[in-house]
């Protein structure tokens, strides 16, 4: 299934009654290929979350159009047309646990599939499967989601999205607020889902380690515009671009630059992980 995401000169803002906010997306052109894993980075308020919302019709373009698979999102389209897009694009918001609402975990996870017309019996099976996928014991499905810890709640919320069997997975800082272990578990879960189901995945994050570890491509946003769209390694290799947009680099790369500056030794490759840096240091004989 081809699930390309394409933006054509998309401009958008939030309108609330007579108040118009400044443009949150400005003339954005973008092509995300089927099966790609793209990280979106940029300063707070640069339009990252808005870009995600535009992908499933939560934020409508004022100008331009967005194509997701074979659905088109345009400002004059009726809201009904978005139903298909919303089924295809699973969106995990910031702090997704705050959207849990049902009496039991099972009901919460079934909510999405039921809304999209899946029969109850089948929805329950899907829920059971989704719980297993996020690494929770299916035995807890009759408990209240509010009795769980923060990390577990987040898993339930993500299970609710996976249960809709999306073909595009859009995530807004899924690891925020989790301890390092919980975070890496959630991220590995998302990665294996991405790989197993050939999803098109978009991840908003502030954590350059996530970008280096999980994503293949990276988008840099600045003031509502996409200013860089490149392979992850290319971006971090190019110190001029990194500095121009005031970006951070992964810890390993930062340390590499510091070591190169202090010792005057240039390492043979761009290091994005601890492993790569350790190998490079040993290769040049610094340790």
């Amino acid at each position: 299934m081809v699930m390309e995401i394409k933006f054509d000169k998309v401009t958008a803002d939030y309108q609330l009654g007579p108040i118009r906010s400044p443009r949150v997306l400005e003339s954005v052109d973008l092509l995300l290929e089927t099966g790609s894993f793209t990280a979106v980075i940029g300063h707070t308020g640069s339009g990252k979350s808005s870009l995600l919302k535009a992908m499933n019709g939560l934020l409508l373009p004022r100008e331009g159009k967005i194509t997701v698979g074979d659905s088109v999102i345009e400002s004059e389209k009726s809201k009904k047309a978005f139903k298909k897009v919303r089924k295809q694009v699973g969106m995990v918001f910031q702090f997704p646990e705050s959207q849990l609402f049902a009496e039991t975990i099972e009901q919460d996870i079934c909510f999405g599939p039921l809304n999209f017309g899946v029969p109850l019996k089948e929805a329950k099976e899907i829920a059971l499967h989704a719980l297993e996928q996020v690494g929770l014991d299916p035995g807890i499905r009759y408990k209240s989601p509010f009795s769980l810890s923060g990390g577990q709640k987040r898993r339930v919320a993500i299970a609710g999205i996976l249960a809709m069997r999306p073909e595009v997975l859009v995530l807004d800082e899924p690891g925020a607020g989790l301890d390092p272990k919980g975070k890496s578990e959630i991220m590995s879960l998302i990665t294996s889902w991405h790989n197993d189901n050939q999803l098109t995945t978009v991840l908003v994050t502030h954590d350059m380690e996530d970008v280096a570890t999980y994503a293949e491509d990276v988008i840099v946003m600045n003031k509502g515009k996409i200013v860089v769209h490149d392979r992850v390694r290319n971006l971090f290799a190019n110190q001029n671009v990194v500095e121009k947009w005031g970006l951070d680099v992964p810890e390993a790369r930062r340390m590499q630059l510091m070591i190169e500056r202090e010792t005057g030794v240039t390492l043979p490759s761009v290091c994005l992980t601890t492993d790569e840096l350790a190998d490079a240091l040993m290769e040049v004989g610094l340790v």
Partner: protein
């Protein structure tokens, strides 16, 4: 020895008294004025509960909390809250005002501050967090990181002696996070501000004066970051130490004890 600004003795707490499990059991520690204490531990270890107990949002089952010499209880909590402020993890849980500046002023209105002084305080607080340009925005329409900055400004405006931050930086981009941390470090030096920061960011924790490691509701350790990272290898350490361990596991001859970034770079250089 000076009297500590925070003194916690044998604190025990549970949400549901029918259950056996205690969220916190027998927690004792003290914090000196002007100290930065980082509280770390995995999700569910009781960090946020401890933070909320410190500002009197819950009352403990057993044990006591003294802030600046005053014992925290139902009657004293209003007095105590003039000295201690909390910033929550998810700022959406605490917005009141219809504009950023109204929201920052809310706490000041509550303590009946004269208008003139309020203006000065709000302005200063917004400047400290870099939100002056957005003072007239609706807080609910800001981005996650901007909201967190507004929430922090709301506390800074009150000029408490102690600030408790419950992962108040998670939605900030790394640059804003560093600049805000710098601002707080300066305030700590200049005005003897005491900071208790609950965090999963070990690089941030490594810059604290001391770290408190909570495990299943108990104080596992309270010591310097160097000591904590050295003793508790299951805790994910700051990057330099991770690199040192990685090098060591690959058979390189590196020193066998904890190293800060500076120490590691210096060692490499020699």
């Amino acid at each position: 020895m000076l009297q500590p600004i925070i003194e916690v003795n044998n604190l025990t707490f549970q949400y549901d008294q029918r259950l056996e499990d205690k969220v916190l059991s027998d927690v004792s520690f003290s914090v000196q004025k002007g100290e930065w204490l980082a509280i770390v531990g995995s999700n569910g270890s009781g960090k946020s509960t401890l933070a909320q107990l410190l500002v009197g949002l819950y009352s403990s089952l057993l044990g006591s909390i003294h802030i600046n010499g005053i014992e925290l209880n139902e009657t004293s909590k209003w007095e105590v809250r003039k000295q201690i402020g909390i910033v929550f993890q998810n700022p959406d849980n605490q917005f009141i005002g219809s504009t950023v500046q109204d929201d920052v002023a809310f706490g000041l209105e509550n303590i009946n501050m004269p208008y003139e002084e309020m203006q000065v305080r709000v302005e200063k607080a917004l400047e400290l967090v870099g939100m002056t340009d957005m003072r007239l925005y609706d807080p609910s329409r800001l981005s996650g990181g901007q909201k967190q900055r507004v929430a922090i400004a709301g506390i800074l405006a009150l000029k408490p002696s102690v600030i408790v931050m419950d992962e108040a930086f998670v939605m900030l981009d790394p640059k804003s996070r560093r600049s805000l941390l710098n601002t707080l470090h300066q305030l700590k030096e200049k005005e003897q501000l005491t900071i208790i920061s609950i965090t999963h960011d070990m690089d941030e924790a490594a810059t604290a004066d001391r770290m408190l490691l909570l495990e299943a509701g108990k104080v596992k350790e309270i010591a310097s970051p160097r000591h904590v990272f050295q003793q508790h290898t299951n805790l994910e350490p700051p990057f330099a130490e991770r690199l040192r361990r990685k090098l060591s596991s690959k058979g390189a001859s590196v020193p066998s004890t904890y190293m800060t970034e500076k120490e590691l770079v210096q060692w490499l250089w020699k």
